[in-house]
Symmetry: C2
Subunit: 217 residues, 2 copies
DNA sequence: GTCTATACCGCGATAGAC
DNA sequence: GTCTATCGCGGTATAGAC
């Protein structure tokens, strides 16, 4: 008796019928594109993109290889979707951090940027993890590396400005400082688990604290 | 005990004949095992181990696939040799740093260890880079990860002791401190070039300086 | 130490039924 | 949305000549 169309019944000619806005998995399989993407990203991160075959992903989902191709045109298209998610997130985060602290000293902007980077990294952990492991093996991967380099350069600019303004130590090349800072931030993907005991606020505070004040007591 | 054929032969007789200690490439090809290994590690680091085929390596060396198998039993045997080099180096470095600073405060030991880690990472950069990218996709890779974890635990112990001795900030979990410290150190493999303008001494000083004193001026 | 030739397998991807 | 079946390619690895 419960008919899905019930709600749309009344108007004379409901030319736009059923169309369930958000598909929910039914019987057993029946995956949507985003679910396939999440599982793929997880597998890619566990085994590496190249070491993961379409069949591995199919087995993980409990379906066959061919079914994957209903959701994505190719293996590389899955990677593309994942990398776009990570890069869009990072772009937005860097822009937002820059905007929110526009008139402050570069030192404060840098600190805000580092904390924002930690938060975005945590929020999109799987996709960012995948991004950070890309080696540039295809035009697609190279394009992702280019976008990433562009983001890194924006961050390096803030570091340089903070040194120029005299708030950061100047006994180390600003370029090196930049590498060390974001090297530490990026290394979080190798061990941090968002559902573990450490909140992203605690983590961001720890990273910023260690970086800016140092380890000494 | 160690029996290397000729070496054990006749004491008193300088019986060590031709045996070109270091083989030099002759006509054109004619590689020795170590050269093949170096080139393989470089390729693996550029493209990723899984994305690199034996044929890629053969083309890079200017020989054919089959010739590779004269030097190594299998592709995985090449990886094994590389990972052993990295792990042996790290093991030795950690042990040496621990030994040299045995009676000093943990804070000093930690600083010495960080600097030693930077130096060994630079000295064996290609092999260590490869090690840090291993995902555990085979029993061999898992064994490497196990050895690496063991080393990481030794380092974490020094950090914990330094916190206990009251020399390190205690507002951050020692385990997290350890991850951040060696995350920064390990991230060097993603950008540092030993033959660039930055010496390994400068680099070690920069890393230790930033980590222990912080970025502030 | 390298070559040619080849075995064998799993990969990404497609066609078409249900 | 998933299935079975299949294609063609490139992967690791081996055999045996030079």
């Amino acid at each position: 008796m419960p008919d899905v169309d019930a709600a749309t019944a009344v108007p004379a000619a409901p030319a736009v019928p059923p169309v369930p806005a958000v598909r929910r998995p039914r019987g057993r399989p029946g995956y949507d594109q985003d679910t396939v993407l999440r599982r793929a990203i997880d597998l890619f991160n566990r085994q590496g993109y190249d070491a993961t075959s379409i069949n591995d992903l199919a087995v993980d989902l409990g379906i066959t290889k061919s079914a994957i191709y209903h959701h994505f045109e190719s293996k590389e298209a899955i990677l593309a979707a994942a990398l776009d998610e990570a890069l869009d997130g990072l772009d937005a985060a860097v822009a937002a951090a820059a905007d929110a602290t526009r008139d402050e000293p570069a030192y404060d902007r840098l600190r805000a940027t580092v904390e924002a980077a930690v938060h975005i990294l945590v929020a999109h952990l799987p996709a960012v993890t995948l991004l950070l492991r890309v080696r540039g093996n295809s035009p697609l991967e190279q394009a992702a590396l280019d976008r990433r380099r562009h983001i890194d350069e924006q961050l390096a600019t803030v570091v340089k400005r903070a040194v120029d303004e005299g708030d950061l130590r100047d006994d180390v090349d600003p370029e090196v400082i930049s590498r060390l800072v974001f090297g530490m931030v990026n290394s979080l993907v190798d061990w941090y688990h968002p559902d573990g005991p450490i909140s992203s606020e605690t983590l961001a505070a720890a990273v910023a604290g260690v970086l800016f004040q140092g380890l000494h007591r």
